[in-house]
């Protein structure tokens, strides 16, 4: 169980003028947001930019967060939109997603290298999906959101999201079987 004040309490503190309390929000959610953005964009630099921009926007619009108890979903929505914005304006000639370097463990033993290879394979398969399907798969299976939470993040209907997740699973499985 997570310790510390609830999201509602932290939001109230920030809105009450304690802007340093926003650091709690960052520490609480940066891991998930960075991972999500990295899987969406295929680049840790771009992901860090998207998350940073998203968090600054979140701070500036915090008063309009209607339900602070669902802060996590709200932050994912903002960062997801930052990622879509980045993908839509990505210039021709940028590093394509499937060529982006994989995110590997820092240790250098045989097991971790094999793991890095597997991760590269899965990341490349993920990168071949359309952004909508990639987003649905990552939110569901990497970030562990429910379909209701995914609907809040994406603004899509649950049947649409289920269909995207199913198609993403099929595409990923195909790639994994081709390389088995």
């Amino acid at each position: 169980m997570r310790g510390g004040p609830s999201d509602t309490e932290v939001v109230a503190r920030v809105l009450g003028g304690d802007r340093e309390a926003f650091g709690l929000v960052i520490r609480r959610y940066e891991t998930g947001l960075l991972r999500f953005a990295t899987r969406m964009l295929g680049s840790r630099d771009a992901a860090a930019d998207a998350v940073a921009e998203g968090l600054v926007r979140a701070y500036r619009h915090l008063a309009s967060c209607r339900d602070p108890s669902r802060l996590r979903t709200w932050l994912f929505r903002i960062v997801a939109n930052r990622c879509k914005s980045y993908l839509s304006r990505r210039a021709v000639g940028d590093v394509p997603l499937e060529e982006a370097p994989p995110v590997a463990d820092s240790t250098d033993n045989e097991a971790s290298l094999e793991r890095a290879e597997q991760l590269a394979l899965v990341a490349q398969a993920l990168a071949r999906l359309s952004p909508d399907k990639r987003e649905a798969f990552v939110l569901k299976h990497v970030e562990g959101l429910s379909y209701q939470e995914m609907a809040a993040v994406t603004g899509e209907r649950i049947p649409t999201l289920k269909m995207r997740v199913h198609r993403a699973r099929e595409a990923l499985l195909q790639v994994l079987e081709d390389h088995a």
Partner: protein
């Protein structure tokens, strides 16, 4: 692309027990879950810490926002004004006041800067106990700009001076219900999936 057996999707969606699957379908579930587990590994931070970067922006005052906030605060706060004048001048001042009061004039607008204009917010909320306007001009603070319903007809109004520009805003009814102004100049969807109204403030300086 081969379709996956629907039961695999049901297990992965938590709608069916894994034990009900035959071994070959369990292997499919395992494979997909392993792929997701690889992707779920934490991404190590890159370069300057995210918190440092974001907090630097958070601590930096937004120049335009501060200016607007100061302006709004000035208008909302009673200002004490002390005048020290010689008795002889007081007669001239009294005459000037009489003149200004009696001579009809159309110059009733407040003195505004070259880059300032007046924004009027009007909304009909017959059952509301309070209505505020929150927007990009006041950092979306909910309690800073109240609307008034002086004649109790359910129509709430506020007039504020703002620097020229386009602003997104919403009404906040009874402190909790966020309502767009459908009579606004424009409506746009924001990053958070809501429809915000847009007001365009033009210079009224002459």
């Amino acid at each position: 692309m081969n379709p996956i057996d629907p039961r695999v999707h049901q297990v992965l969606d938590g709608e069916l027990a894994r034990e009900s699957l035959p071994p070959e379908l369990r292997r499919v579930v395992d494979r997909l879950e392993s792929a997701a587990a690889l992707l779920a590994a934490a991404v190590p931070p890159q370069g300057a810490g995210l918190e440092t970067r974001v907090m630097a922006a958070v601590r930096r005052p937004a120049p335009s926002g501060d200016r607007v906030r100061r302006l709004l605060r000035w208008f909302a706060t009673p200002q004490a004004v002390t005048l020290r004048i010689r008795p002889a001048w007081s007669l001239a001042l009294a005459a000037a006041i009489v003149l200004l009061t009696l001579v009809p004039t159309d110059e009733r607008a407040p003195a505004l800067g070259e880059h300032e204009g007046i924004a009027q917010f009007v909304g009909r909320f017959p059952d509301a106990h309070s209505v505020h306007v929150a927007g990009s001009f006041n950092d979306w603070r909910t309690g800073t700009i109240p609307l008034e319903d002086r004649d109790h007809d359910g129509v709430w109004r506020a007039t504020v001076v703002l620097p020229t520009g386009a602003y997104e805003y919403m009404f906040v009814v009874d402190g909790e219900r966020w309502v767009p102004d459908h009579w606004a100049d424009r409506l746009v969807e924001d990053d958070f999936g809501r429809e915000n109204s847009i007001v365009i403030v033009r210079a009224t300086w002459r």
